[in-house]
């Protein structure tokens, strides 16, 4: 299935998480911290809140707990 990561189309396996799509796209940044530093998934199970991305226009979605869907539009690197 194909998803859009910051304008780049990447192919991921069925059932893959949004984090998987980000790594396929070589985007190791989900959000920018208040001090301007890039962050990425830490706990992998929905607790640390570091992997917040914007999915189909909806902000603060956890990339580690969201499975990819065909045509999904993922935006990362926002200050969140």
């Amino acid at each position: 299935m194909i998803v859009d990561v910051n304008g780049t189309m990447v192919e991921v396996e069925d059932g893959a998480s949004v984090i998987a799509a980000l790594v396929v796209a070589d985007t190791l940044c989900t959000r920018i911290s208040v001090s301007g530093q890039p962050r990425f998934a830490v706990c992998g199970m929905g607790q640390c809140q570091e992997c917040r991305v914007t999915i189909d226009g909806s902000k603060h979605r956890l990339a580690c707990q969201t499975p990819c869907r065909t045509g999904m539009v993922i935006r990362t690197g926002e200050r969140a």
């Binding site: 991921v12 998480s17 940044c29 001090s35 998934a41 830490v42 706990c43 917040r52 707990q65």
Partner: protein, 414 residues
Amino acid sequence: MSIVILGAGPAGLAAAHAASSDGHAVTVVDDNPAPGGQIWRGGPARWRDPRAHALWEALRQRQHVRFIQGARVVAAAGPHTLLLDTADGPRLLPWQRVILCSGARELLLPFPGWTLPGVMGVGAIQALAKGGMPLRGKRVVIAGSGPLLLAAADTVRRSGGKVVAIAEHQGTRALAGFFGRLLLGHPGKVWQSLQLAASLLGVPYRHGAVVSAAAGDQRLQSVTLRHRGREREIACDFLACGFGLVPGVELGALFGCTISEGRITVDGGQASSVKDVWAAGESTGIGGVDKALAEGRIAGLARPINVADWQPLNWSGAPAQPRLWRPCWRPRFAARRQPCATCAACLPSFAAARMCAAAQLEPHARQLALAPSCKPGPAWGHARAGCAGQRVASCLAGKRPVCASQCFLPVRPA
């Protein structure tokens, strides 16, 4: 009677199976997209444990069992009502009996560079790899403490990644003691460990080794390990560093259950200190999938006693945790405690902030806050249930007033 089970891991599924066996309506709420929790991650298609399939097949045939996946408990919106944050928006869920099967989380401890992208937990790299994160050709350092390190190394290897080093914080003597206790208490697990170790032949396994720093520009590029007084820099793409599991007790706190020694306190029948609230699985003490299944079943079969002066059952003289479940692994963290963090900037009133005001690091505030080395004081409770939480909760609930002390929201790191 409506029975609500929070968490769809082994304990939650076992509880749902037992609780629904005589026709009671059961609702299972879980924050993952598929049931199974962390140990049975990825949904039925990926399960290898036959017990998971047996439970799931039985539950699927029961019309009175309902699963709400991808939903998170936000607050107690009044007596016997939970406020959920679901993919379709907020939702109120009434309950008459609740069973907490909230599992465990990983203990992460800070070191310079721990917020760099590419640094994650040991359980995290397993979870993310199972979620399809490609590791082929990636160089991975695995560090921290506990048997999970070997399991994670095995997962990385199977996914095509290259484990360049395993750094176990405990020294050789402590490791030998652990294997001795394992042999006495859980001989089956020894075989499992030996198989894992055999599959990892050739991977450097250092005892008494500590991650002293992670470095890189915008993302992790190298890890510095301190071992036998020497520091060595290792180039890598990912660092998985974790110090074992700790019970997930936040939901217990939400319901006002007694929590001691970091576990939700339960009696011999899995009843918590609060009427109509039971707890099972890792949240009552780390013990693995067998303990979770047994406790889930006990909690699911329990029935409320309709008396005014209800008291939890006390086993006088019995150990808090039966020997079978007592963990062989008792990691010591004191040596890992490093000054950290700009959590001062994230949570000004937070007790840990004062503890570690001197450093230049950025912590993952929530993980730090939950680390036992940083005992949260009343200030933490304030931060958790503070104005932000209350605002979001009342907003979600359509302005329904929510008591601050009954609100649970993830405190997001800044």
